[in-house]
């Protein structure tokens, strides 16, 4: 049973827990390291599941409900696994003025997935961003972690279909 101070045996023998432990160690297992640690979990595992939340809460001695409250407050954290491919459409003001919302709508229709969700087959997560700071390239997006300037619906749909087809 975790929860005892000093007991920080990872829940599984997955090597990614070492990264998580390294972050917690860097901050001396202090409760204030919660967000940094959740960031490491998000980056290492792609999302925060119940096991991870319980483990981090116990190691940092943060109440479970508080851990969950923090994890759901920040949009960067996801409690569900992401799709194999991801497309983030920026909805910052510059992108909005230049039609980012139309691109999003077209993508949502083409892949039958509402923004913020993953397709049932786990192939694609369609996400939105408040502003990725690439306003000079509006409308911009991030396709499979690559910032992509001047999105057009047709080109993005094409690119994603190809990626899903080749990778699936």
């Amino acid at each position: 049973m975790t929860g005892q101070r000093g007991d920080t045996a990872p829940p599984t023998d997955d090597k990614r827990w070492r990264l998580v432990n390294a972050t917690m160690r860097r901050y001396g297992y202090q409760p204030r390291a919660l967000i940094e640690t959740l960031n490491t979990v998000q980056e290492s595992f792609g999302y925060l599941d119940e096991t991870a939340l319980r483990y981090v809460a116990a190691c940092l001695r943060v109440p479970l409900s508080k851990t969950y409250g923090v994890a759901t407050f920040y949009h960067f954290f996801s409690l569900k696994p992401q799709g194999r491919h991801s497309c983030v459409v920026c909805l910052g003001t510059a992108c909005y003025i230049k039609g980012g919302a139309n691109v999003l709508e077209a993508l949502s229709e083409a892949f039958a997935v509402p923004p913020g969700h993953t397709t049932p087959d786990g192939a694609l997560s369609l996400l939105t961003a408040r502003c990725i700071g690439s306003c000079g390239l509006a409308p911009a997006g991030v396709i499979d972690n690559v910032v992509t300037p001047r999105l057009t619906a047709a080109a993005v749909i094409d690119q994603l279909r190809k990626a899903i087809h080749d990778g699936a």
Partner: protein, 233 residues
Amino acid sequence: MVTTFKINEMDVSAGEGETILDVARQHHIHVPTLCHLEGLTPVGACRLCLVEVKGSAALVPACVTRAAEGMEISTDSERLQRYRRMIVEMLFAEGNHICAVCVSNGHCELQALAGDLGMTHSRLGFLYRQKRIDASHYRFAIDHNRCVLCTRCVRVCDEIEGAHTWDVMGRGIQSQVITDLAQPWGSSSTCTNCGKCINACPTGALFKKSKAVGEMEKDTHFLGYIRTMREVK
């Protein structure tokens, strides 16, 4: 340090650490509150206790503000009443409050506020959001439809009971109080079944299962008692 100032043109004084609300209550000046509960850390979230300070455009929450020397405070202007009524209307529009079928009917702070402020109906659009009822606990239940997110349950559980079973998840209009990892209350591993949250809750959101319509009376006297006993130690 003691400061002297005015509330509604009455000369008053505040001791070290006393807020405008504390002083107003000492003089039986009514300032409406909802998220405030004597004995818990104030958060200034419901905005009902906002008061005017002469010479300043900004309104200040009485529950967390200490009066400065010579301040002239007014607690009951037409403008403040209008804002307060809108806040209560907002809360009615946000949740699904049907007093006639509520366990707290007649003993509800929100209901009382609406009466005091002369609110008969909400002019705002009702949001009609689907909200859950969690009755998995063996003695207690929570009806999120009646929750006003005052976080009194969160604070009493953390600060007085020390369990920190409750917290808030999500943000904005999606905010919701949760137990542990947003799991059914009955399966919480941290809840001590003490019932403090039930008594701290200003509405019928948190209630005892044994209560029928209008039977759920809340009692918060334990807070003053516990605080005093802890201070003595």
